[in-house]
Subunit: 699 residues, 2 copies
């Protein structure tokens, strides 16, 4: 039976990839506009590809080194021989997701701008189609990787189910490493270019955003693609795959423990088939996304929400018969676990929007704090961001308790942990379409830049702005899902780690009580990791931005006629600087994330590692929400002031709000999202190196 | 034997109080200067006293209500009858510490300014003497409370040792509540006045700091007293007392468990006698603090360091025979536990200084980030603050492991936990003198204000500035001790909570493993609490500051001749506004800190509470360090720029640094220090309400 289920998942994967292909063709069928637009878009594409090529060149070294290390460990019997290969495929597919998403995004930007010349709906269709390519490529490749490995291990190597899921769990580490590199590198790139361009262009020289005279303008647009598209693609590929494989693994262990091989297969089937059904629902509902010619935010938002909400409802309905047929009525609680995750995602998304959208009180109050200067709006934003952690914490707490309880966790803890992992799968089941609505934002942003640089009719810019601004709102919701699912998946991975330890040696006595000083210290060290990580990435943005600032200042001074528009800026120098700086800066934080759990394990042992993972998950979750929401609120407070309140554009209040926005940039687009990956990568590394840690540790 | 030890502690307490009295007399023997100075000082004193009077009026209602609640619980047998009374005395002495410290500080400010007219050394002596009054009052009253209760319960009520320490543990809750009210209220007051005065006075009207034309100038100086003196006094009283009583309690439990009543007495004796020895060492070494006429920072710092370092060395030497005579060679490990705490305190203090003093790289780099505007210095400061958590986390981790290990924790966990609590006692044993060096800062600050307002010779201001600036450095070290000891004490209190639960009912099976979802959720919720707390207190500062801004603007507009110096500002209105706003705003955060552990306990049960305490301690520690160091670094980066680098005073870089400093104000003086108290209060409340939670909870 299980092979058919895997084939079903494979079919879902192929369906998703085919749909992505049709969407890509659809995007390419639109015209790119005039020669200037083609040239600008070409420059952006060239810069983005140059970045990715160099990034991959570095990562090949990293992956090769890790392959050797893992092979040596496999040679010593600390790992199975599948792990090094699984590690590489995880990284490969994660990178490929980002690459494909970016390829189409850099081809869709000029096309979106061009389509906006004809009308808003046409623009939305191009951008949303391109976003869909990304969304469905991510889920398609994710399911492809999972189902191929499953079939390979099952049909070719004839492994037992627990060995299969244990091996598959490790390719998450490849995906997570890749994702972290992509997120951190891309995040540093995009914000360094953005902050650098703004500080000299907007603030010092007083020229508008996306002005072609600004030497950093192409780098800024490249940044949208390498950070917000390629980085996000790799990131969500990792989230998606991690949630499914950790769920499979926990399910198999839960039912193997109670001696039911048949139910163990069911436990693998549910998350896989859920994902395939999610693909189907997302495809259907993506056709509901269309709009008229009104640029009214609420109409546009309604169009997108129609797509995401209906797919959520469709999945909620379809999941019931799925669980019923696979597990029977005895385990129908798993259905409610899935629903609790789906619901928690929606609720966290709502609260993210509440705290960051200018239609609600918090962001409006923040905007008013700009009237007494930049200091008060900074204090206000930090306070808002910290306060916004309350609702998500409570939602996740209730979701975890509910998923654990309805799955029978109070009778058998293993079932409860499986339930928690199913909640994560439920939350991410609509990823195909939510990611599409998320990924289209940077495309619209790029389109606006091209419209500005190519000197198109201001009406076009107004349309792209409407699309872009909408993208900020959907991005906020998307972030809510990403953070929520990261927390649930991280919890599931901690459980997987615990079970991995017991798998290695049943005789190991785990002492995970908080009063064990090793656990306590682990919690402290783990809690500190997201702080270090955020500090390092912010510092990197600062460093990289400084180098851009200097270069832009130099060009303004040294290139005669640049400010008068008579000479061209040297865009490639800025693109080059950003590339070098971000690639250099991405290495330390990522290596740190990989090395720390190993070092902590070798010193404090597996109990210390468990404490570390719990501490990192808790503060990582909080810090990610704090940074994302503070950044989002500052951004929208600035936009709100630009709409004419508190003196509008150019007023002192506006200047104060720009400071807030600039501070928020690395918060929300570099450090915050990277932390989501960090907390999962820590668990993944711990799982892969568990054999080493169990055999060699000090305490 | 133990009664004699308690009497020895009582003697130490009386010695400390007598020494404080001689210091107070010494301060009062100096002249207050001319009539203007007397008048200004009188106004500050009046404002400060008005604030305290109203604060105490509110707190009497709170303490009365809590007394009734605790009495009702005692009536139902959920508590012993000593608890309500112990609660009230804890609060009373904590408040008294702040009151006495502030009374002398407000009498020493003009005297310091006046003494500075004659010379720097004379000024230092007045200010340091006044600081010593505070330092020795805190330790004296702390030891008085402890020894009186001990003697009362032992000699009058003839209680058994375990019952005595259990009852004494609960008066920590009174001290913690009082401390939190005082820290939060005072912290909001001082920063609202400071930020409000700066935003309108310095930034808008362009008049210098402490200019008598600024209507908020008196409020600003009152703030130094109610926040940095009274608040800090109540705070450190709580730290000191909590560390000693939690140590006594853990020691008694450890040795009662192995059936040795005699060693249990020794376990109580060590922390108490350690404290008394600390008093002696601090008194002796406070005479080493004297300087010549050079205003050179390093000379002044050396004078203060001579006092604190020699007292640390003296205690380190004296502790060895103490432990040897009381416990014998078998338990000499406890000596090393004490030393590990003492050393950890010194190291954390050093790293605090490293990250916040402009003699080191981090703050200098931060200052340079002001060159690209306020956004980059804010990002830089956040990054610096977050990164500065690494060293303290590692130091505390090593200290905990060391104290646990050398005390024999790996054989008997109870001994290890006692060892951790002894480390906290060791860290705070030099409190008498470290607090003196800490408390003299705001006095020097006030003296500078009076010198400015009274129009004294600029040389006087230069001298008070030298004293003040030194105060910032010692305050940084003091903060390191406060945070480090808070973390250790909080850990000891978690252990006390666990033992309290088992004391209530030996049959209760504790499931504190991290994989228990209740514990996990507890960790998440606990981790969130410091974020909420920081958000609320920052928001309060913002709100209160806004009301000051409006009032100052109004006075500038409506009082004719104010700006020309022909009319007097209405200082009392501002003082009044600050008082009202800060008292109103202090209530919610504090009540939240008291109610949350009870609610969490009633829902998640005692296992959830343990998780919550661990989570809160970990993130609380991190957030407190982050906020204190970011704030300190911004402050000193601004001062560094004012010394002439990056364009000096008035340059764009300086303006950017002022924004950083203003953001840092509530970070370092309101939210950060309050979090230290929060994490202990959460444990204290949990301990007191343990009986309720054990009997009634949902999960």
């Amino acid at each position: 039976m299980d092979n058919y289920l895997a084939l079903f998942t494979l079919a879902g994967s192929i369906l998703a990839l085919l749909f992505a292909l049709t969407r890509a063709k659809n995007v390419l069928s639109f015209g790119e506009g005039n020669d200037t637009m083609k040239k600008i878009s070409g420059n952006i594409r060239k810069g983005a590809m140059a970045y990715l090529t160099r990034q991959y060149r570095i990562l090949i070294v990293f992956f090769a080194a890790m392959f050797v290390i893992l092979s040596v460990m496999a040679g010593f019997g600390l790992l199975t021989w599948f792990v090094p290969f699984a590690f590489v495929t995880g990284g490969f597919f994660s990178g490929l997701s980002g690459f494909i998403g970016m390829s189409i995004a850099t081809r869709a930007n000029a096309r979106t701008a061009n389509a906006c010349q004809e009308g808003l709906n046409r623009g939305l269709r191009v951008a949303f189609s391109a976003g869909s390519v990304m969304g469905f490529t991510v889920v398609g490749l994710g399911l492809l990787d999972i189902s191929i490995w499953y079939l390979l291990l099952r049909m070719v190597f004839h492994l037992e189910l627990p060995d299969i899921t244990a091996a598959m769990l490790t390719f998450g580490m490849g995906a997570s490493s890749m994702a972290l590199f992509a997120r951190v590198g891309g995040g540093i790139y995009t914000k360094a270019a953005d902050v650098g361009a703004d500080l000299v262009g907007k603030v010092e020289a007083g020229i508008p955003e996306d002005d072609p005279r600004n030497p950093a303008v192409i780098a800024d647009n490249v940044g949208d693609n390498v950070g917000d598209v390629a980085g996000m693609g790799a990131d969500l590929y990792e989230s998606y795959v991690s949630s499914i494989i950790s769920s499979c693994s926990l399910g198999v262990i839960a039912f193997t423990a109670i001696g039911s091989g048949k139910l163990a297969i069911s436990a693998v089937a549910v998350p896989m088939v859920m994902a395939a059904i999610g693909v189907l629902a997302s495809i259907i509902c993506s056709f509901f996304v269309r709009t008229g010619e009104s640029t009214d935010q609420s109409t546009l938002l309604k169009a997108l929400r129609r797509g995401t909400n209906s797919s959520a409802i469709m999945i909620a309905i379809a999941a019931f018969p799925l669980v019923y047929f696979i597990f029977g009525m005895n385990y129908i609680g798993f259905y409610f676990a899935i629903i609790s995750g789906l619901l928690a995602g929606v609720l966290i998304g709502f609260f993210t929007e509440y705290f960051t959208s200018d239609t609600y009180r918090p962001t409006r109050k923040l905007a008013s704090q700009s009237e007494t200067g930049s200091a008060t709006i900074i204090i206000g934003g930090v306070s808002l961001g910290m306060l916004s952690t309350v609702a998500p914490i409570i939602i996740i707490a209730i979701c975890v308790m509910a998923a654990y309880g309805v799955s029978g966790g109070f009778g058998d803890a293993n079932l409860g942990l499986y339930g928690i992992s199913l909640a994560a799968v439920g939350m991410l089941s609509t990823l195909g379409i939510t990611l599409a609505t998320d990924a289209y934002g940077p495309i619209a942003d790029n389109a606006g830049g091209i419209a500005e640089m190519a000197g198109l009719d201001p009406e076009v810019r107004r349309r792209t702005d409407a699309l872009d601004s909408l993208g900020n709102t959907t991005a906020a919701t998307g972030k809510g899902f990403a953070i929520g699912s990261a927390a649930l998946t991280a919890l599931a991975l901690i459980a997987s780690y615990v079970q991995k330890i017991q798998q290695i040696d049943m005789k190991i006595k785990l002492d995970m009580t908080i009063m064990n000083p090793v656990v306590l210290i682990g919690i402290f060290i783990g809690a500190c990791l997201p702080f270090i990580f955020a500090a390092l990435t912010m510092d990197s943005v600062g460093k990289a931005a400084q180098s851009i600032v200097k270069e832009v200042r130099r060009q303004f001074k040294e290139i005669p006629g640049l400010m008068e528009g008579k000479a061209d800026a040297d865009y490639t120098r800025c693109v080059d600087l950003c590339t070098k700086a971000s690639l250099r800066e991405m290495i330390l934080p990522t290596i740190l994330a990989i090395v720390t759990p190993i070092v902590v394990g070798l010193i404090l042992g597996h109990n210390g590692v468990i404490g570390m993972l719990a501490g990192a998950t808790a503060t990582g979750f909080l810090l990610a929400i704090f940074m994302a929401n503070a950044g989002g609120a500052w951004d929208n407070a600035k936009k709100y002031i630009e709409s004419g309140v508190h003196g509008g554009k150019g007023s002192d209040a506006h200047k104060a709000a720009v400071v807030g926005d600039t501070v928020g940039d690395p918060f929300k687009d570099t450090s915050g999202p990277s932390i989501n990956i960090l907390i999962k990568l820590l668990s993944m590394v711990s799982i892969v190196f568990a054999g080493l840690v169990v055999n060699f540790h000090i305490f």
